[in-house]
Symmetry: C2
Subunit: 193 residues, 2 copies
DNA sequence: CCTACCGATCGGTAGG
DNA sequence: CCTACCGATCGGTAGG
């Protein structure tokens, strides 16, 4: 009962800050900007959060965790590389479109993380990229995908996926599933043997 | 003779600032950071430049102009949509890889432009995107490309191209031409009918 | 290119 | 959640 009282303002701060970080960038958004938007004084924010960076940290690592959950489900999968790729693309787009403000911050503002969080974040990013690459490598080995530089292919695919958050809208004409289906189709045609 | 003396320090400031804007972001890079890197006092920068934003403005609009030059050459072209697409992709990658620091700033920091530059920049961006779309539309009309949402296609293609600056290196194993050939091949296979 | 300095604003704390 | 405030730093100017 008592704990419940404190949950709401903290979440409100996070939602507002996330949107403002997306629009203006982490560094150019001040605590006073955020507090004004919420109709309170800047000092009052600190009853609910520890620091400005705590907000950035939570956003970045919450999304990173969601992306890693996707990898987990693939780990024991018996599917072929095409199916794995489709599963990964679908899940990736699902995470990215769920909260486009958070996605934009996750993709663009992580470099403002201080150590050791900055390094930790880059490690996770690297691991995710590698999981992507290993699916492509498997496909190449099995002769399903074109024999090309799979690092180049992985980066190209990921960049195409990671642009979705800039234009996706829940009210738009494409659902997350339709987006991933189309992307998968373009990508598979682009790389298949 | 006399003018020549002033050219060099200004360019040095621009090069250093561009690199630092890319690494740390425009807002988080202070004039004192830049001056320290150059071994001078912050106040001394203002003998060569007008303001911090002038640097950002020059980078963004210089690259924008280069991208528009590409469009110009295509305007009177008699090529078909596939050839036009290939020409555009090749030129786009050429511009992006020429100075990856400037490209990163151009792509990520333009939102810190103040008015009226911010609006002007977004207009140019929009126009470029439209030129891309009209090539795709022509390809669809002629039955060369798949009948899909060409806005979606254009954004997907551009995002794949616009990631190149993050990993391209002049010392790397792929030349700009090889990169654009590979990208064109993936993209064309992905969208052709 | 420097010293000296401006007003504004920053993230954050003390104490209630 | 507020008032009052901290030291640090910001972009930029005056004057040489």
């Amino acid at each position: 009962m008592l704990a419940e009282v404190k949950i709401n303002p903290r979440e409100k701060i996070f939602l507002t800050a996330t949107r403002m970080f997306r629009e203006t960038g982490f560094s150019a958004t001040s605590m006073r900007n955020i507090s004004k938007e919420l109709g309170i004084e800047a000092a009052s924010l600190y009853s609910h959060i520890q620091s400005k960076e705590e907000i950035l940290r939570e956003i970045c690592f919450r999304l990173a965790a969601e992306f890693f959950e996707v990898l987990q489900t693939l780990e024991n999968s018996e599917e072929g590389p095409e199916e794995k790729l489709k599963t990964l693309i679908t899940a990736h787009i699902k995470v990215l479109t769920r909260d486009t403000n958070a996605s934009a911050v996750f993709l663009n503002e992580w470099r403002h993380l201080s150590e050791p969080f900055h390094s930790r974040f880059m490690d996770m990013r690297q691991k995710y990229e590698h999981a992507f690459r290993s699916i492509l490598k498997e496909g190449i080995r099995l002769g399903k995908f074109k024999a090309a530089d799979e690092k180049f292919m992985a980066l190209t695919i990921l960049s195409a996926l990671n642009w979705t958050h800039t234009w996706y809208s829940p009210e738009g004409k494409m659902s997350p599933e339709q987006i991933s289906d189309q992307l998968y189709s373009i990508i598979l045609n682009g790389i298949k043997n």
